[in-house]
Subunit: 389 residues, 2 copies
Amino acid sequence: MQNFEYYVRTKIIFGKDTESKAGGEAAQYAQRILLHHSGGHAVKSGLIDRVKTSLKNAGVEWVELDGVQPNPRLSLVYKGIDIVKKEKLGFILAVGGGSVIDSAKAISVGAVNEGDVWDFFERKKTVPQSMPIGAVVTIPAAGSESSNSCVITDERGPWKRGINYECIRPAFAILNPELSYSLPPYQTACGIADMMAHIMERYFTREPHVELTDELCEGALRAIIRNARAIFSGGEKNYDARAEIMWAGALAHNNLLGTGRIGDWGSHQIGHEVSALFDTTHGAVLSILFPAWIQYNIKEDTPRLARFAEKVWGVDGAFYDPEQAAKEGVFRMKHFFRSIGLPVSFAEAKIDAAKIPEMAKRAVKFGPVGNYRKLDEKDIAAIYRIAAE
Amino acid sequence: MQNFEYYVRTKIIFGKDTESKAGGEAAQYAQRILLHHSGGHAVKSGLIDRVKTSLKNAGVEWVELDGVQPNPRLSLVYKGIDIVKKEKLGFILAVGGGSVIDSAKAISVGAVNEGDVWDFFERKKTVPQSMPIGAVVTIPAAGSESSNSCVITDERGPWKRGINYECIRPAFAILNPELSYSLPPYQTACGIADMMAHIMERYFTREPHVELTDELCEGALRAIIRNARAIFSGGEKNYDARAEIMWAGALAHNNLLGTGRIGDWGSHQIGHEVSALFDTTHGAVLSILFPAWIQYNIKEDTPRLARFAEKVWGVDGAFYDPEQAAKEGVFRMKHFFRSIGLPVSFAEAKIDAAKIPEMAKRAVKFGPVGNYRKLDEKDIAAIYRIAAE
């Protein structure tokens, strides 16, 4: 087991009607804040109005910035930074999914540091500080509500780049599972793939003797799979299933499940290039690429992938034919993703296989990706080709 | 699933040689601190000297108070409060196991609040604030290093009473698994029973639909059981096994595993009366009473106890004869505790069964105990009698 520090100071406020606490929590940080959201469903559903009432009740004033899109754009981040500086705001409240929260995180970095915020994403310099932010979560998916990471797309490239800093972890996160009832099924499914990927990226490690976190990862994946099936078999408004998924989404990415281990993250890296070129939803890219990544690794580390097949997907027979068991794990995983409406191949998501060489080249801009297995341009192209089969 | 708040702001610093960071962490809170420990093994092993070097290097001065015993005493807490007030100290660093950390927590409450600190434990008033504390953990057991609870014994009774407040959660906890190499086997075993009990108290809930935390609880218990066996089969200095146990001990009691559910805590309550009268180590009381408590509940909630037997103890056949499976779970649990040198009956721990009526009466001083099943005086006596068999 590796030495580690684990310090998640995000206060989780979980359950029914908890959005009414947003104002009181925000008031602990500032009297004037940026209210950041997409302007879409959160407005139509009345959530933004409920949050505003809560802010009013707590004596908090706000300036509103909506328009966040999936794969949140750098241009809106720049706009947010200008507003925060001009209006002298002291806190950012994100109401939405991972895109809104990530956009808020990027604004929080740009608002209190000199220079171009994109330089931090291009790794030209490191982030010394940020403005505190809070989140009211509407989409269980990215886990951004209690994570230290943030991914932004510079549409001029397009480039999709991520940063990881302790200071950008939200001060509080409000999670009301009821807010996810009205998500379109495809978005629910993409969120499920995303949180599963966050766990699997940590699960696949070369670090031996991390049994406790192995058990926690496998248990969380089983709980997600079972409750996803409950939601997709007529349980759209099954509070408990939605609640399990929402709590799992936060735990999947606050690094509890990564303590003492070095995760892989190759699938995320090579997925970013697909999203950047085709604007494919992050979760759908992962439902395509993670099974392909696993298949590419079966011969490389058969015992680990056989264990994964048995413990997470219930495959028997791993003792006698581990390679076949591992393959069956991939088969079941793809079947599960399909069963909740996700693509498992490039063709299904209208991703043009002709772009494989270009995407593979872009993926290694900063060198090989992945820690469980270092992937060079050739490896990445091979994984893309499996996904294109 | 119940609504919940989850806010564990303890910074975990985990791994080899991490005690060297104690000074730097403490310096963030005060320049003059109370250094609190038992005066026993932590001194002989050289740990206290290493911690002092770290404090010196960080420019932190300390006043020392040693002498903490298992089932930490109120008299020493009073002494600590006097010292902190007289010397105007601003932080307490506990170096030791749960007893030392709990003693430090009680001092931290008494140091900044008027009146007799025992009144808080007797529930005459609530704790409004406390002084920040930190911990260097030597015994993986109580999980006090990142918990909000504190148990103290007033030797004038004797009464053993606990409090739970967010403010007493340590600001940081340093966990170096190597520090547990030299623990006597009995103490290692008692710690293992204690952390397992912390998980089981949360696991046994009447709250339906808490699958994610069910999975996390079961996985953590399996990891503890496997690594306990590794330590007790010649792995006293197996770093990885010690590390799994130490991290599990902290996670067992920071309430991650209790989110969304209402735990039982009856076994802890009825165990406190045994410790109070016989000064039996907390972990040994639990290895005796938890199997007895489960046995008492088999007819009350057979499906849950059959599941526990299957998922945690690997018992087959729960579908066909769940009651028998549940019984076999208790059998395996007792065998496991015996295999690591713990008592599983009153006789083995020299607890006089003649005191059962008195202990049962004392246990209900504040009314029935337990949430999974409310235990009155008659129930408690029945569980004690099972333990006396």
